[in-house]
Symmetry: C2
Subunit: 298 residues, 2 copies
Amino acid sequence: MSPQSPLEGVLVPLLTPFGDDLRPDPVRFIALARHLMGQGLGLAPFGTTSEGNSLSVDEKIALLDALVEAGLDPARMMPGTGACALSDTVRLSAHAVRLGCGGVLMLPPFYYKTVCDEGLFRAFATAIEGIGDPRLRVYLYHFPRQSQIPLSLALIRRLVAAFPGIVVGAKDSSGEFANMEAMATGIPGFKVFAGTERLILPMMRAGGAGCISANANINGAAMLELWHRWREPEAEALQAELESFRSVMEGMPLIAALKAILARRLGDDGWRRVRPPLVELSTEVDAVVHRRLTEILE
Amino acid sequence: MSPQSPLEGVLVPLLTPFGDDLRPDPVRFIALARHLMGQGLGLAPFGTTSEGNSLSVDEKIALLDALVEAGLDPARMMPGTGACALSDTVRLSAHAVRLGCGGVLMLPPFYYKTVCDEGLFRAFATAIEGIGDPRLRVYLYHFPRQSQIPLSLALIRRLVAAFPGIVVGAKDSSGEFANMEAMATGIPGFKVFAGTERLILPMMRAGGAGCISANANINGAAMLELWHRWREPEAEALQAELESFRSVMEGMPLIAALKAILARRLGDDGWRRVRPPLVELSTEVDAVVHRRLTEILE
């Protein structure tokens, strides 16, 4: 990995552990982050998988501080900072930049559902100007199914043109490869991360930067191997292997299922906790996940 | 209005003014609030119309403090406090209760889109327990089109049963009268506010508490007149009159249009400002709104 691009590769939208009072637990959080970074993965805390929008800005700042104080490299971190309130987006993003984070992953404001591109442009532009730091690197977070706010290619081009060197990339969780390809090949220097490991190989062939996927919390090392070896003859087989793990998660409530797998792996049921409105896996569903996982590992 | 029920009647989801730096402007905010309360209206600040989710918790606390410090009666206020992060909901709600607010209007967490009733129950229950104040009065905010998170009747009944005297009512912005009627007639003592003035009369006939409507920022006095006189022969005519104003807003971006009308009325273009992702009215659309309004006033 070149020092010029510490954020390329596979980034993990880090699961967030909670204590029995449902407060974020920095001790478990640091331990998971250290383990994953030790495998060569970057971190994208406070994403959708991280229950990032279920945390207050103060909680996110405290967790990010904890990671950096634990000696983990902020240049390899891209925290999610986009909130409904611009003031929240600005405060968290500015803090991340001050800590030395390599970038921030920015959702658009997502409460109002029928907004025009001009309004979205102003939302990002006002946030960037409010942060007011030349070290800022913004990755736009396109996740229409969850946020209900698609980011059009025209909007993205306009933002890149208005903020060159600041708006530098995107995470695309639409699942639509044509859209990822259009960004990666059509916008010079733009760094595109596929939101699913299903598309690592096509993404890299299209000049993408890598992948940010929920499953990287559990299966990140295998994704990173493909990312390193995508030009080799084995790449197709490595891509196919990633499908086994994906099939375990099919039809499952993703965040609760990932936490359940981690809880079993670490022998720590505390990892099962989620913040409402999510609920942890039922005993029955947990057994299904465990059986599927055991089958693919045999 | 009986002193036992200071929150019945017509409540205004107060528009939020911004300075040219897009920070909330407490001076304009207090002036509008004072004017509307002087007409006998209650206040529901930080609702959808208020761009409430475009404000940070700190900004909402500062604005609420400003209203109370200005001598306005908090017992007649029902601020919107429901956020994606439970910690935000708890902090703002607890502050509102300490200030003496008559109730809080609570959206469910709205980032995760496919959540079960059990998860939503836990979200409200955890918030209520976290606030931990017997003076708390929660009004559930049902606005499926905007939040994408419908609150089922079964969920509402369960919350009322679990928190009697705390979960006391709802605002229903679904537009579906059958749902409002089912709550008002089927849950003893439950206070239901229609989210549109179109339904004040049927709502009151079904035993409802009143109305919380965006247009009350401009046309609240006429709504309140109907609320006071709903048993009189003139009620049908008063209800029909409210339609004139509603027709002005048809097809308009509601928040920007209301701010534009207020700006003209007060001769203060500063009122036109909205926070991104919203945009203010274009000159052309502003002219249409003004023409329509002039026509109905002639």
